[in-house]
């Protein structure tokens, strides 16, 4: 009887642990899963200022400009339908260039400028930020 009793208790503890972990995961996901948006989606349905999301698209040709502070840049992220201005302070990742895909994390400010905290680095040639794979990029050199 004792053996059974112990197994039952262990099983209950395990189930409680699993359920608790599941809830923890769900709450975590609800608060922390960032949405991915393309310029076309933003122009169709604006994202409120200050709400964090990931912006993905292509860096428009000729749009990268350096700001006077020397550490910030401003550029346009575009897709087939729309453009969003982005500012970013920091050193851009290795594969950041005009006419190539980019994913930026951050939020829009009151003027509709996307203030990026991070520009995602590419990990290796097979791993691009996942969301970009099927964004309709104008003049994407990969096509």
């Amino acid at each position: 009887m004792r053996a059974k009793h112990q197994r039952l208790t262990l099983a209950i503890i395990a189930i409680v642990a699993v359920v608790a972990a599941g809830f923890l995961a769900l709450f975590g996901l609800r608060d922390n899963a960032a949405l991915f948006r393309t310029p076309a989606e933003i122009s169709a349905e604006p994202v409120p200022a200050g709400q964090a999301f990931r912006l993905g698209g292509m860096v428009a040709q000729g749009s990268i400009e350096e700001l006077p502070d020397g550490v910030s840049i401003r550029f346009l992220v575009q897709d087939a339908e729309a453009q969003v201005p982005v500012v970013y302070a920091g050193i851009t990742p290795d594969l950041f260039a005009e006419n190539s895909g980019v994913v930026a994390e951050g939020a829009l400010d009151a003027n509709g400028v996307f203030v990026a905290d991070h520009i995602l680095a590419k990990h290796d040639e097979n791993y691009m930020p996942p969301e970009l794979a099927d964004v309709d990029l104008v003049g994407d050199p990969r096509q």
Binding site: A17, A21, A25, N32, A33, D124, E131, D134
Partner: protein
């Protein structure tokens, strides 16, 4: 001819693998002793053939044989030889061949060295290993043949991604693969033991060294991957919760749980069914990792649907093997006899807590990794789950786990008294309290997670050494030292993570030549830039003269490199390691006015993260050696008697 020889060897190995499976089934059905004695040599030759096949591919890469499609697509004649060599597995087909070679070789090793298991269980184990092998041979030969010819031959290769041209990355994947695939042995052992109803301490003692060995490789592989990402990507971080990283972390979590439960099974004959389950889960996580990384599904669910052959193939294998093992488990788990009893306050109890927490963390990482894929598949909505989720959910559980880890080794097997336990943990608690006081008095306020991390690290460091207290140090078995060092490694690693996240300093400037900026204990003077060139790249190199207090000045030269084939730009961070941290410098782009972007980090004690990981692996190695030696002695004694 080399390519054809490689392919022929691969086909032969696949055929032998089929034979191994047939022999295994025959031996289990009747007692065909002929099949039993034949299965070992078959497994050994199969392993050697895959090794030969892989060696042929390496040779093709070293010679840059451009009549082979894979070489033409992934290599270049002007590349340094080291990267021609590592280019062999820097691509899908080559890495899958390496995977299969390691799988077959580990089967050979079992066939050669395993002498603890009953003959029948060993046969079943080798049959299970062959069953895994056959699917992956089929995948390799039909969906990713590395030896396919290109006609006409290419005039020049397309090169290897410059980010992969790094000594760290040259040896990181093989290390990780040995760990991944080594877990296949634990899986096969579990299947074998279920088939022959032979789950018990002997089985656990036979399985333990294999689990330990793959766990050591996984640990080193993950640490190396983390350090590579840290210095090569130039972003200054050491863990990104990237799905590719998670793919290697998940098997590690499962293997860590397995390592502890198999010890309970080996020493106390408890947790039988659970250990078998973990062995199945651990290898499932390896295969899931392979699927995630190799199927294209991470790029996008759509990319998976566009080129479905490979992805579907691995997914099919995944479902077949995991499903098959789980079905077998469900059918046979009732026949696994119950093991011994234990009280909750006991070493076993602490190890159960360890297992539950590790499983919970594993579940959380798994959900976070798969959730975006699931959401995209169902709704088409794309979202990303990143560090905020993982830190908020896995972080607290990891701290709990570490607390359990500190107490566990201080408990007695089977039953213990809370009152006595309190006495034993009082010293670690005191150390943690002192650390808390020190933090509050001496430093500026820091975040709650780093704070808890530092306090726990201090407590755990004390607790992990405590098992050596009052022992005869020269007669203490080596595996006890292994445990002590591995647990100490956790404390060291955790201290590094907490220090780095609490006290890092970052400076981002557009520096003109001659300017000096301060970061941490350093004064960094920018001397300007100059062009430099390497074998297959050109670069802009920044000169930084760095002074620490009154110490001697030294020069750091971060670069921004341009590779010609394929055309890519990479950052080469320049890092100076001191005893108490690292100065990490990255050069960005220059503007017309002669200013260059500089990013400077002072990362106190960041190296402890990887030093701790090495200690963990070293602890594993000592345990492995200690266990194997003790096993051999026991067996010799039995042979005498």
């Amino acid at each position: 001819m080399i390519a054809e020889a490689g392919l022929a060897a691969l086909w032969l190995a696949a055929a032998l693998c089929g034979l191994q499976l047939v022999f295994g089934v025959m031996a289990l059905r009747s007692d065909g002793s002929g099949a039993v004695s034949a299965i070992r040599p078959v497994a050994i030759v199969q392993g050697l053939l895959t090794l030969f096949s892989f060696a042929m591919l390496v040779w093709l890469f070293l010679r840059t044989d451009l009549s082979v499609e894979l070489v033409a697509a992934n290599s270049h004649s002007a590349k340094p030889w080291l990267y021609k060599f590592s280019g062999t597995w820097g691509n899908h087909e080559g890495s899958m061949l390496l995977w299969v070679a390691i799988l077959a070789l580990s089967g050979s090793l079992v066939a050669m060295f395993e002498s603890r298991l009953k003959e029948r269980t060993l046969t079943a184990t080798l049959a299970a290993q062959a069953a895994i092998g056959i699917g992956f041979y089929a995948f390799l030969i039909f969906a990713s043949n590395p030896f396919a010819r290109l006609s006409p031959a290419a005039p020049e290769g397309r090169g290897l991604n410059p980010l992969l041209q790094d000594p760290g990355l040259a040896f990181h994947p093989p290390t990780l693969y040995v760990g991944y695939v080594g877990l296949s042995i634990a899986f096969s052992f579990a299947v074998g033991a279920l088939l022959t109803r032979d789950v018990g301490p002997t089985f656990a003692r036979a399985m333990r060294p294999w689990v330990l060995a793959s766990w050591i490789f996984l640990t080193i592989g993950i640490a190396a991957g983390s350090y590579w990402a840290y210095y090569e990507l130039g972003w200054g971080g050491w863990w990104f919760w990237d799905p590719v990283e998670n793919a290697s972390l998940m098997p590690w979590l499962a293997a860590t749980a397995l390592l502890h439960s198999v010890t309970v099974l080996a020493t106390r004959d408890a947790l039988r069914a659970w250990t078998i389950m973990l062995a199945v889960v651990a290898f499932s996580m390896s295969m899931l990792g392979t699927f995630l990384v190799r199927s294209g599904v991470l790029t996008s669910v759509h990319a998976f649907a566009v080129d479905p052959q490979r992805g579907t193939f691995i997914l099919g294998l995944l479902i077949l093997y995991i499903g098959g093992a789980l079905a077998l488990y469900a059918m046979r788990v009732g026949t696994v006899r119950e093991g011994s009893q234990f009280e909750f306050v006991s070493r076993e109890g602490a190890l159960v807590a360890n297992n539950l927490l590790l499983s919970a963390i594993l579940g959380i990482v798994l959900i976070g990794t798969l959730y975006p894929l699931g959401v995209e598949a169902v709704t088409g909505e794309q979202l990303s789950v990143g560090p905020p989720y993982f830190n908020a959910t896995a972080g607290p559980l990891a701290l709990l786990l570490v607390a359990a880890m500190a107490i566990g080794p201080l408990l007695r097997w089977r039953r213990d008294q809370w009152r006595n336990v309190m006495g034993r943990i009082s010293l670690p608690v005191l150390v943690a309290a002192l650390a808390l006081m020190g933090l509050v008095l001496l430093t500026s306020p820091i975040g709650i997670l780093p704070m808890l991390g530092l306090i726990l690290a201090a407590g755990v460091a004390a607790a992990s050494i405590a098992p050596l207290w009052k022992r005869n140090l020269r007669r203490t078995p080596m595996f006890v030292y292994g445990m002590v060092i591995a647990h100490l490694g956790i404390a060291v690693s955790m201290a590094g993570m907490a220090f780095e996240s609490a006290f890092s300093e970052e400076v981002l400037v557009a520096a003109s030549p001659g300017e000096t900026h301060e970061v941490g204990p350093y004064a960094v003077t920018f001397d300007g830039t100059r062009p430099v060139a390497g074998a297959n790249w050109t670069a802009v190199e920044g000169g930084l003269t760095v002074q620490r207090g009154e110490g001697e000045a030294f020069v750091l030269t971060p670069q921004s490199r341009m590779f010609s084939s394929p055309q890519t730009e990479t950052n080469e961070a320049a890092i100076r390691t001191a005893w108490n941290g690292q100065l990490y410098t990255v050069l960005g782009s220059s503007d017309g006015a002669g200013r260059s972007q500089l990013r400077l980090w002072w990362k106190p004690f960041v190296t402890l993260i990887w030093l701790g990981a090495l200690l963990i692996a070293l602890g594993g190695l000592l345990s492995l050696i200690g266990r194997v030696r003790r096993e051999r002695r026991t067996m010799e004694r039995e042979a005498w008697a």
